[in-house]
Structure formats: C-alpha cells, structure tokens
C-alpha cells in the first residue's frame, strides 16, 4: 500500500468528501477535505524525482567447497539525492543459506550514503550467480514507490567437498607417451617387475638378473613395467530413477564427491581426464590435464543434478565414441538391472572399465516381513548383476557411501596388479 495505490486511495477519499459535502450543502463537511488535500499536496511536493544508486557485492571467495562458509558484503551507494527510505533484500539464491547476519535491511540514505548488508552463508554444492539486487525506495508518506533491480553479477562456485584418495589403479590398453602412474604393459624403467630378456650389450648392469646367471650361466636382464600417463573418463550417473527414492539424493551427493576425488587424484597423477555427466542431459567435459582442467571438472560436478530423461533412461545410450579408444572409463553409479549389458559392450570395445558401485547405508529391515524378503531378493538380483559384470571383465568396486572412498580405491590398485 504505497505509491500509486496510496495516492489513489487518498484522492478517492478527497473526492468522496467533496461530493458528500456538496450534496449535503454542508461547509463543515467540505472543510474536512482540507487536511486530506494538504496531506496529499505536501506528500507529492516532498517526493524525490530521481534515484541514482550503485550496488557492489564482495564475496570473500568466488570459489569454495561444500560445507565451507563465505562472507558476503553487499553495499548500496546513493549517488543522487537524499532518500527517505531504501530497502535492500538479498536474492533468495544466497539468502536462504545464511548462517549469520542479515539479508534485508532498510534505512534512510543521505546523498553519498551507503547501506551495507553483511552476512555469512554456507551454500550447498552448485553454481550461484545472483546477477541483480532488488532495491525498493519510497518517501516517508508513501506517495511514490520505486522498485529497481541493480545489476551486480557475482558468480560463486561451490564445489563438492572431498577427501583426497590415493592413486587409482588404471590398466588401460593404451597409454600416453608421458610418464604417469598407469600400467603401460610395456617393459622398461619402472617399479613393478614385468619380464626378462637376454642381455644386450649396452644394458645397465643394475638390471642384470643375478639369480638366472648363477643357475643357467646366461646373462638375463630384468624388465620393469613402464608407468605412463593414461586417458581417463569419469562417468557420473545422474539418472534419478537409478537412485533409491528415500536416500537417493544423499547417495548422489556422495557419488558427486567420489567423482571429484577421482578426478582430482587422476589429474594429480598426470592423467588426461574428462567427465561425462549422464542424467537429464549429457554434459561432456573433454579430456585434459592440469589445474585448469581440474577446475573445469569441478565446475561440471558443481552443476550436476539428478534428473530424468527418456533418452538416457538406461546406460545403453552412453556415447562411447567420446572416450578415446583403449582408454580407462570409471563409471560411478548405483547401477540397476540392465546396465550390465552397456558396461559389457564397453569392455568388449577394449576399454578398461571400472564400475564404482555407490551403495547407500543399509536401513534396518526385519527379514521376516514381506519388505525384508523383497530387500533380500533385490540384493540377490544385484549381486547377480555384479557377478555378470565381473565375468565380462569389468572391475567392480562396491563402495558403501558411509565408509571412506580411499579404502575402496585402494582395492582397485591391488586388483589392477593382477588384471
């Protein structure tokens, strides 16, 4: 009730008093119109005609991790005339995650004065871009009312939080020519024993197999497996229906964190790493290496959300042509019946496939109840599916999301040694 509505209300009242006074031919009633008329006139004369404001928002950090807080300072500076009342409200995208401070404030703003909002927020994973600040101003009597959206873009990335995991055991068919940590299936300099061959003049005597020389009187050289950088694609499953209805969102958040940890570990080990988000839409971040690539991957993960698409209802439409041939593919998903075929196809095409099965913490269900029986059947069906995957040559790592990921990743290193 401010601005044109209030003015219309008072002018209507004024007209009514005048009409009634004239109709009754009563000067005393007509005199009642005077306070209203002067109130309106004074109110209109005291209104400010121009509004000149500038908004500035300072974030303590433009990129942060889930769970870390940020400090925000939003300032509205009056570059014009004195304003009776200015009200600023921070956008809901950030305001709903406030932990301390205020996100809405009103005050009189003198010429050159500043209205500042300071607050701390703890937003969850995602990308925030509160581009505008809604500002409302009015005069004290409320005859004029301004609403403005001041431009103030402040992009904020909230990446998933993750604990560092150790080296991921990769065993792709093809590796890059640069050193790394993936097994290259080639003899040369390295740590792990690979094979032996007869000594050729020029070979280093450090690698001479002294036991073979002693037993057979032949000079044999030990070869070690070269460790090279590999190409790795991390696939995050974002199909809503693949996750449990009750704990689905929570499991998905764990899956996102696992992907972030895997990407970070792979980038640190020098692998060329890419990300494919498979859910409501396909989001592909091409392979690359270095800190910039890690930033891109984390940004992709920050935007990931559960969703449903008819086209990507099952993993059969996984765009395998995006993955370099003979490279490693890690798929992070709870997996459902029917997914084993798609993974088997990938394996058959020569990819080194690792299925990281994210499982929610088990809920207590009494086995004697029908629900308990159904749970058992579902569990058996799932175990059968995982067995099919193993037989197809897919490395399966079951990770219960309430346990540390590093333990599950350690198992991949041990298994890749024998694969």
């Amino acid at each position: 009730m401010a601005g044109p509505h209030k003015l219309a209300g008072e002018l209507g009242l004024l007209a009514l008093v005048l009409v009634v006074g004239l109709t009754l031919a009563s000067p005393t009633v007509l005199l009642l119109a005077l306070p209203i008329a002067i109130h309106v006139t004074l109110g209109l004369l005291l209104t400010r005609r121009f509004l000149k404001l500038r908004a500035t928002r300072h974030l303590s950090n433009s990129r942060t991790h889930h769970g870390d807080g940020i400090d925000v300072e939003l300032s509205i500076e009056n570059l014009g005339q004195h304003l009776d009342l200015v009200l600023v409200t921070e956008q809901q995208t950030l305001a709903k995650h406030v932990t301390e401070g205020t996100t809405s404030s009103a005050r009189t703003l003198c010429a050159g004065g500043t209205l500042t909002l300071s607050y701390s927020a703890q937003p969850p994973r995602g990308f925030y871009n509160p581009a505008q600040v809604p500002v409302y101003a009015r005069d004290l009597l409320g005859f004029t009312n301004w609403t403005a959206h001041l431009s103030c873009p402040s992009p904020l990335w909230v990446f998933p939080s993750y604990d560092p995991v150790g080296r991921v055991g990769l065993s792709p068919h093809r590796t890059l020519s640069v050193p790394g940590t993936a097994r290259s299936r080639r003899g040369g300099e390295g740590i792990q024993f690979f094979a032996t061959r007869p000594y050729i003049p020029g070979d280093s005597l450090r690698h001479l197999n002294w036991k073979a020389l002693a037993r057979r009187h032949q000079t044999v050289i030990n070869l070690y497996e070269q460790e090279r950088a590999a190409e790795l694609t991390v696939v995050l499953d974002g199909r809503e229906w693949a996750y449990e209805p009750v704990q689905g969102q929570e499991t998905f958040e764990h899956a996102v964190r696992a992907c972030a940890a895997l990407c970070d570990s792979a980038i640190r080990d020098g692998h060329r790493t890419g990300l494919l988000f498979y859910g409501e839409r396909l989001e592909w971040i091409p392979l690359g290496s270095g800190k910039v690539q890690r930033e891109r991957l984390l940004q992709g993960l920050a935007r990931a959300e559960l969703g449903f698409s008819e086209a990507f209802a099952d993993l059969g439409n996984l765009p395998s042509r995006l993955f370099p041939s003979g490279s490693s593919v890690i798929i992070v998903s709870p997996f459902t019946t029917g997914d084993e075929e798609a993974l088997g196809m990938l394996r058959a095409r020569g990819y080194d496939v690792l299925a990281l099965v994210s499982e929610p913490a088990p809920s207590p269900v009494t086995e004697s109840t029908p629900l308990g029986l159904a749970t058992r059947l579902a569990k058996l069906e799932r175990q059968l599916m995982l067995q099919v995957l193993r037989v197809a040559g897919v490395r399966v790592v079951v990770w219960r999301v309430d346990s540390p990921l590093s333990i599950a990743i350690k198992a991949t290193r041990w298994r890749s040694r024998w694969s």
Binding site: L11, L32, H39, V40, L59, L85
Partner: protein, 180 residues
Amino acid sequence: MVLSVTAYLAAFGLAWAPVIDRGLPWAMFLFTLPILWILGTTLKFPLALTVGLYGVVALAGWAAFSDALFPALAAMPLALLAWDSASLTLWLRKGCEVQDKVGIWQGLILRSIGAGAAGSAIALGFARFELALPFWGLVGLLVTVWLVLAALRRATGRTQPEPVVNSPPTQARSHEDGIS
C-alpha cells in the same frame, strides 16, 4: 503497528464520541472498524486499511455534519497518521532489519501529523469566517483544487525514475586456491 493502531483508535474515539448520543441503531456496528484496522495491520491486508480509513473519515464527516467540527478536524490528522504508519509497516518486509528506526518513525510522525494538523488548522480558521460564496463558485474552487492535485500527481508520475546505475564488476577479495 502499535503507532498505527493507537492513532486509529484515537481518531475513531474522537470521531465517534460526538455521534454516540445520536441513538444510531447501527452504532455498535461501527466497532467493526477498529477491529478491521487491527486485522488489516496484523495480516497486512491493504483493502481492510482502506475501508478503515474511509470509515473513520465518514464518521468524522457525520460528526462535522452534526456541528461537532472540532473533534472531527482533530480526528483527521490522527486518521492520516494511522494510514501513513500502516502503509510503512506494510512496506517493510518481514525480517527486515531497520536501521535508525527511531529517526524514521519520528520523521514520519512529524511529516504526517504536520500536514494533517496544518490542514485542520486552516480548516478551523476557515470555519470562523463567513464567506458568501455562490454554489457554482464553490464548485469552481473545488474543481481547481482537484485539477492542481491531478497536475501534481501527473508530474510526479512522469518522473518515476529509472534507477539502474551501472555497477562496477564485482571483485572477489581472494582466491583460496585459485587456478594459476
């Protein structure tokens, strides 16, 4: 809200007191007006406030018509103060922190009461004079007043500002582990 309700109750009391002994059959029904006002302020319902203001002014008009001009004119600034303060209460959002609250409310009271009281004082001054104004002269005067107000409204309406000012690009103060 307290100021608005208090001012309204005072205005209502002043406007209602002269007509209390008129034996109006619907006098008790008038008590719905303060209730309506309280509900309108509490529930932030502008229509109830508008009806409340029109009601109390109608009551003041009745009092003025019944030769009780002084209480009726005294009720007018209070009614306008109640109206202005209710408008401000509704405008301030829930959870909004108001800085220099006292100063703002003092300014509002001064401006609202000042304008209303000035009008009432002038009206009271006019009541002491006897002017022989022909009917059409009175109509002409009122039309002139109306036209002045309409022109004022038009002038202020045209100058509704375009307040967006270019903001400088926002800078982050630090990068925790930014890319290099």
